[in-house]
């Protein structure tokens, strides 16, 4: 069952044709990995899904992106879209405020003022990000005092606090140490029961470990897309095989 449907997507940065004829269906409640060498367009594609590319001048987008059958440019407004499709970035980016205020930021701007409700949401989100036990006694302390791995889990908690349906992750563990990385990967396994996850990763092993389906990007195109297990063991395209076995990239 697909939750995001991309048809003939072309994206241009000025004259640079960065995404070429992208067609892909993202399944609901699954983890979809986007892999490929640097500069192949996977992050650009990810950011198209929640219209983060709107922030860049001189970007032209052709084609259609449907979120639950609604066109994200023509039928949905970007504020509502970003509430339903959240994003976790490569480098953890907590706001310069307390842990509590970081998590409460999203619910507050979407209208929730009641303190008790906010307290509930903060606790639920931190538990959902496997961070509650570590920070429950210092919610009012600044988020900047947390370690890198904790900050990233805080960002995940912040994202799920607004109850999105999809979580986009742009190389979420590439700036983390191995232990934090495995904690976040464990988290993704749990999160996919409630959310749909699309993750860009440079790490082949990570893609193999956590994803249900994988899309291989090369030079702005999707070369192959399918079940992760099949793709990794029996890739259909030679370029996919070369990349996965490490011959380039």
């Amino acid at each position: 069952m697909s939750i995001i449907s991309v048809k003939d997507l072309n994206l241009f940065y000025g004259t640079n044709h960065a995404l070429k004829n992208i067609n892909i269906e993202i399944d609901k409640n699954s983890v979809t990995a986007l892999i490929g060498p640097s500069g192949c367009g996977k992050s650009t594609f990810l950011r198209t899904l929640n219209r983060m590319n709107d922030l860049i001048d001189d970007v032209k987008i052709e084609g259609q992106v449907l979120f639950e059958d609604k066109n994200i440019y023509k039928e949905l407004n970007e504020i509502e879209l970003r509430k339903r499709i959240g994003m976790v970035f490569q480098k953890p980016n907590p706001f310069p405020m307390s842990i509590y205020d970081n998590i409460a930021y999203g619910p507050r701007i979407h209208g929730i003022k009641d303190k008790k409700k906010l307290d509930e949401i903060v606790e639920k989100s931190l538990q959902g990000a496997a961070l509650w036990k570590e920070v429950k006694d210092r919610l009012k302390k600044s988020a900047m005092g947390l370690s890198g791995g904790q900050q990233q889990r805080l960002c995940i908690a912040r994202t799920i606090a607004v109850e999105p349906e999809v979580i986009l992750m742009d190389e979420p563990t590439s700036a983390l140490d191995p232990i934090s990385t495995s904690k976040v990967e464990e988290l993704m396994d749990v999160l996919k029961e409630k959310y749909t996850i699309v993750i860009v990763t440079h790490n082949m092993q990570q893609a193999g470990r956590i994803s249900d389906k994988t899309a291989f990007f090369l030079n702005g195109e999707i070369v192959e897309y399918g079940k992760t297990e099949e793709m990794f063991h029996m890739p259909k395209d030679k370029r996919t095989e070369d990349y996965i076995t490490g011959r380039f990239g």
Binding site: E80, F89, F95
Partner: protein, 274 residues
């Protein structure tokens, strides 16, 4: 040989710092030596006497009123202008032109602003010689300072904060109001402190627009004499260096107090962040 060069450099740098400190200590020391003994309760709160120059409370009030009104006018316009230039305007030739105009404004000598103020605010707008005319003129003088420091402060806010806020579904206003401006606040406040110093220190521009009436202002349309103007007139008319120095001492205290208050505000804001 290279070690000697290192040592010479160290000495030169140390000397430069020492000279700078020496200059400030000498100036402040001289002013205090000449003027401190004149300061007593009467000097500040007594009735104003044109002969002795004491009773400077009305001048203190005028100075503070001028600072407050100028800031009230220039801070909103300055901050909003800087936000527009940094966050909204397309960075092209139009923006470059506006920035060039702002920078040029900063270089104009204050007597020119005084002349403009006299013609425009005092005569054309018929505000007469008044604290309002003076404050409007001073607001124009410090506007470039506030715009420039606010822009620099906004530039230091990491793009990652903006991205994180947008990805959560914030409107542009929410990103500015809840994330960017609070983050840039220390820089903005340092621009305000600079402006306070500039406003208090102004003499030519305020002399030509607020006048020289040495009595307690009734409202913003009253004419008034600021401390700097008073110091100037006392020196020019009576040659009373001791009195002028005493006024200088008061000025130094006021600037110190206002700077400490502003620094305290910055510290409180920063404490919430770290």
């Amino acid at each position: 040989m290279r070690k000697v060069k290192d040592n010479i450099l160290k000495i030169i740098l140390w000397l430069s710092a020492a000279i700078t400190v020496l200059i400030i200590v000498t100036i402040v020391g001289y002013i205090f030596k000449k003027g401190f003994k004149l300061i007593d309760f009467n000097f500040i709160f007594g009735d104003y006497s044109p002969t002795s120059g004491g009773g400077i409370f009305p001048m203190i009030v005028t100075t503070l009123l001028t600072v407050i009104v100028s800031l009230l006018i220039s801070i909103p316009i300055g901050i909003c202008g800087a936000i527009y230039l940094q966050e909204y305007a397309k960075q092209g030739r139009g923006v470059k032109l506006i920035r060039f105009a702002t920078e040029s404004l900063a270089g104009i000598p204050s007597i020119i602003y005084g002349l403009f103020g006299t013609v425009f605010f005092v005569s054309t707008l018929k505000l007469q010689f008044s604290i309002l005319s003076g404050s409007l003129t001073l607001a124009i003088i410090v506007l470039p300072v506030i715009i420039r420091t606010t822009e620099e402060a906004l530039k230091t806010v990491p793009q990652s904060y903006r991205e994180g806020a947008v990805a959560l579904g914030s409107t542009k206003f929410e990103v500015l109001y809840k994330i960017i401006v609070p983050s840039a606040m220390p820089g903005i406040l340092s621009g305000v402190i600079l402006s306070i110093g500039r406003i208090i220190g102004e003499s030519a521009a305020i002399l030509l627009t607020a006048g020289t009436v040495a009595s307690m202002p009734k409202n913003l349309l009253s004419s008034g004499r600021t401390l700097t103007v008073h110091a100037y007139l006392v020196t020019k008319e009576a040659g009373n260096i001791e009195l002028a120095s005493a006024i200088g001492v008061i000025l130094i205290f006021i600037i110190l107090a206002l700077s400490l208050i502003a620094k305290g505000i910055t510290k409180t804001i920063n404490k919430e962040k770290f």
